[in-house]
């Protein structure tokens, strides 16, 4: 059941790809795709309820959908009689506007459009359906409240804000969770710059059991997407964070808590904000265009992508924090700093045990230095997975890891994902598909024999992994 302060997700009932168009609704008034509505009426309904948006912006539970398509099942067998003269719709733009202003429901407007189309009856069934879907999307204001999950959040982020998650496609994230053997009781190291989505996915799979150390660049960890999962409070008890900038000193034994990642601590919050919000900009700077991108034949309208997620929980929290801070006196500040030092020491201690059950990396940084350092904290016989939007850095990372040794079963991979339309007599792969979901490098740690750790010649490389091929050549076990 939806409670007043829950994080939930609303989406217009855009037929097939349901989850691509969700928008966060933890505040009351929502603006989404040029529509606005109030959430008050939704509270108390169970997750999954579908609402219609009335002219006043209120939500009203939707009646059983009458299938417009089945009512008008009179279709041409082909389109030989259709002459395209641009005059097939008798309703003018003004007519439609007038209907809307009168408060006529979207469903009825679509019905009127069908009745006033001179060519609709002659269209093939296929073309009729296409027409209805298009018009429904334009005029019907229907939303459903769904419970947040990795499935919902990762598909939504990939569809609407791919820049914020380094274009990590949801099926690629799914691979990471499985390849990483994420499960309850693990002690995981997570290094991500995907707005906290990957962290959230790992937390969901661990269900509050075990512990997580989030490594972060800059002043503090970003958890904008994490907060959208609506995890219960205890889930955060065993979530730790550790600054990347302290990793080398921790490994070399020179770690101290004398200097905190960035003091004064106000910076933490400011940077946190800028990490979250300016990420889009940073990512777009990352690519230098060699040539203007060829437009995909069916590219989605970029204008439609912008009006989303302008209001989110993080913002509200941030403002509240800031106001509080202004009232805080010096003693409280010292108290907080002491608290931070304590937490930092705890995280350092956890890492220093060097017995993590796995490592997950999905960041905008070059993966090689991250892997070479962070693998030191992982126990032997544990999986690790690195995501990168590009293949090239993982080629280098692969080579460096082979030189380092202590890892086996290295695999560089990618997944292809196809969506299908399955309808009677009209089944085929969807007409558009994602161009790429990024690349993964995964492997398993083993005990790294001392003395070999520093040798990076090909001799050591070959020795590190027994090769069945070599043995076959010699025809005798080595």
């Amino acid at each position: 059941m939806l409670k007043s302060l829950d994080t939930a997700w609303a989406h217009p009932l855009a037929a097939e790809n349901f989850v691509d168009q969700c928008v966060e609704v933890s505040v009351r008034k929502i603006i989404f795709e040029k529509q606005w509505f109030y959430l008050d009426n939704a509270i108390g309904h169970i997750y999954g309820t579908t609402f219609e948006v009335t002219s006043g912006g209120n939500l009203q539970p939707k009646q059983e959908v009458e299938e417009t398509t089945t009512e008008t099942k009179e279709a041409g067998t082909d389109n030989r009689n259709i002459v395209d003269d641009g005059k097939s719709q008798k309703l003018t733009h003004d007519d439609i506007k007038a209907l809307k202003d009168k408060g006529i429901k979207g469903q009825e407007i679509v019905q009127q459009l069908i009745e006033n189309s001179t060519t609709f009856r002659d269209k093939t069934e296929f073309a009729q359906d296409k027409y209805i879907k298009k018009k429904k999307k334009k005029y019907e204001a229907v939303i459903t409240i769904v419970k947040p999950s990795t499935r919902i959040l990762s598909t939504m982020y990939y569809a609407r804000e791919p820049g914020k998650i380094n274009h990590l496609r949801y099926d690629t994230l799914a691979q990471m969770l499985t390849l990483g053997n994420i499960h309850a009781g693990n002690k995981m190291i997570v290094m991500e710059t995907c707005a906290g989505l990957v962290l959230g996915a790992v937390m969901e799979r661990m269900g509050g059991y075990g512990s997580i150390i989030q490594m972060y660049p800059g002043g503090g960890p970003v958890r904008a997407a994490t907060s959208c999962f609506g995890f219960p409070k205890p889930f955060f008890d065993n979530l730790h964070e550790f600054p990347l900038s302290k990793v080398e000193s921790l490994l070399s034994g020179t770690f101290t808590t004398e200097t905190l990642p960035s003091d004064p601590e106000e910076n933490t919050l400011v940077e946190e904000e800028s990490n979250g919000l300016s990420e889009e900009k940073q990512t777009s700077l990352q690519e230098t265009e060699e040539e203007p991108a060829p437009e995909a034949p069916m590219e989605i309208n970029p204008a439609e992508e912008q009006d989303t997620m302008d209001i989110n929980a993080e913002d509200v929290e941030f403002k509240e924090n800031k106001e509080k801070e202004n009232k805080e006196n010096v003693r409280e500040k010292q108290m907080k700093q002491w608290e931070r030092r304590k937490k930092l020491k705890e995280a350092a201690a956890l890492l220093s045990e060097k017995n993590a059950d796995g490592l997950i990396v999905a960041s905008k940084f070059h993966p090689t230095p991250l892997l070479l350092s962070l693998l030191e904290f992982v126990a032997p016989s544990r999986p690790f997975v690195v995501y990168c939007q590009y293949k090239e850095p993982l080629l280098e990372c692969y080579t460096k890891l082979r030189e380092r040794g202590g890892v086996i079963n290295l695999k560089l991979s990618e997944t292809w994902l196809r969506n299908y339309q399955v309808l009677p007599d009209r089944s085929h792969p969807k007409l558009t598909m994602s161009g790429g979901g990024g690349y993964l490098l995964s492997g398993i740690t083993v005990i790294l024999e001392k003395g070999k750790a520093d040798s990076s010649n090909s001799e050591a490389l070959k020795m590190e992994e027994p090769s069945s091929k070599r043995c076959r050549l010699q025809d005798l076990p080595c």
């Binding site: 082909d78 389109n79 030989r80 002459v83 093939t124 274009h167 660049p217 600054p243 990347l244 900038s245 302290k246 990793v247 080398e248 490994l251 070399s252 020179t254 990352q286 690519e287 230098t288 265009e289 060699e290 040539e291 203007p292 991108a293 060829p294 437009e295 995909a296 034949p297 069916m298 590219e299 960041s363 940084f365 070059h366 090689t368 230095p369 991250l370 070479l372 590009y390 090239e392 850095p393 080629l395 280098e396 080579t399 460096k400 030189e403 380092r404 009677p424 007599d425 009209r426 089944s427 085929h428 792969p429 007409l431 558009t432 598909m433 994602s434 161009g435 790429g436 520093d454 990076s456």
Partner: protein, 308 residues
């Protein structure tokens, strides 16, 4: 100029392609005295086009410039007026090869549609072959006929306005290959078979939906076609980009910074041949896919007319 023969200079009556920039172009009919508006200004056909070499850079009235290209079936496919869903060059390529088309081949096609495939077929069978193309939509058949005339390939093609499922291709025992892109290809397999030469030939049917393919395969088998084979081909275009990835700041290990062998502050990756290092970043070239690409056009089912 014609669509089956290269010319060096632009002539009155030619169809030329005005190239404005990457993936931005349009066809123009060259005519004495005509002007064409572009976003870079006006192009005067008499002075700016006629007599110039194809491939020339032409400066427009506002100072911007464009390239004028010789038409090819592929450029036409990218620029033609859409009267229907069209076939693109990726599918066209596979169709042409798998139908074993070459100069002299006789091909039957239905429907003509917007003429995207037709132009490519004519190009391949010229100068001694012929295309019989059947279109049930009268307006479209007429428009196609007009385009073939304008493009100098009229003599290589016969356009017929009829329903191929009812009336067939209007020829028999003459074709080396038949191509079908119609809603119910299975209804035309019999006609396709009788259009093909007695000693055999190849057939291809293009359908977006798998159910169409299933019925078509059954019909092909019924009519004794062999080597029935269904394929799907998808184009992946990559943009060439220079990517910069930041080297993360892992801090200094006090005075000693050699513990991991990867020094994040001094850029000196000998082992990283692809690293053109600036301060704290690694640069490399990458071929990156578009975010959204064409995920499906249709299934291509090929078969051979058997001997018996």
């Amino acid at each position: 100029m014609s669509f089956v023969e290269y010319g060096d200079t632009i002539k009155d009556g030619d169809t030329a392609i005005v190239f404005l920039g990457h993936e931005s172009m349009f066809p123009v009919k060259v005519q004495h005295g005509t002007v064409t508006q572009t976003k870079y200004g006006v192009i005067r056909h008499s002075t700016d086009l006629i007599g110039k070499k194809y491939g020339s850079k032409v400066t427009c009235s506002k100072g911007g410039w464009v390239f004028i290209l010789h038409p090819t079936p592929e450029l036409w496919t990218m620029n033609l007026p859409h009267r229907t869903q069209i076939l693109y060059s990726t599918d066209i390529s596979l169709i042409t090869m798998m139908l074993e088309l070459k100069p002299g081949s006789i091909v039957c096609e239905s429907g003509t549609g917007s003429g995207s495939l037709s132009h490519a077929l004519i190009r391949t069978v010229a100068p001694t072959g012929h295309l019989y193309t059947v279109e049930f939509h009268q307006q479209r058949a007429e428009k196609a006929q007009e385009e073939f005339r304008e493009h100098g390939v009229e003599h290589l093609v016969t356009v017929t306005n009829q329903d191929v499922c009812k009336n067939g291709f209007g020829v028999s025992n003459i074709a080396d290959a038949v191509f079908l892109d119609i809603p119910s290809p299975w209804e035309a397999i019999g006609h396709a078979k009788s259009a093909l030469k007695a000693e055999g030939g190849r057939i291809c049917s293009f359908s977006p939906c798998i159910e169409q393919v299933q019925r078509t395969c059954l019909a092909m088998e019924e009519y004794g076609f062999t080597e029935i084979n269904t394929l799907e081909i998808l184009l992946r275009v990559y943009n060439v980009r220079t990517i910069s990835l930041q080297i993360p700041d892992l801090g200094k290990a006090a005075e000693d910074n050699s513990s991991t062998g990867f020094d994040s502050s001094k850029p000196s990756h000998q082992g990283s041949p692809c690293a053109n290092l600036q301060q704290g970043t690694v640069q490399f070239k990458s071929g990156v896919p578009l975010r959204e690409v064409v995920g499906h056009t249709g299934y291509l089912t090929f078969a051979t007319k058997s001997l018996m």
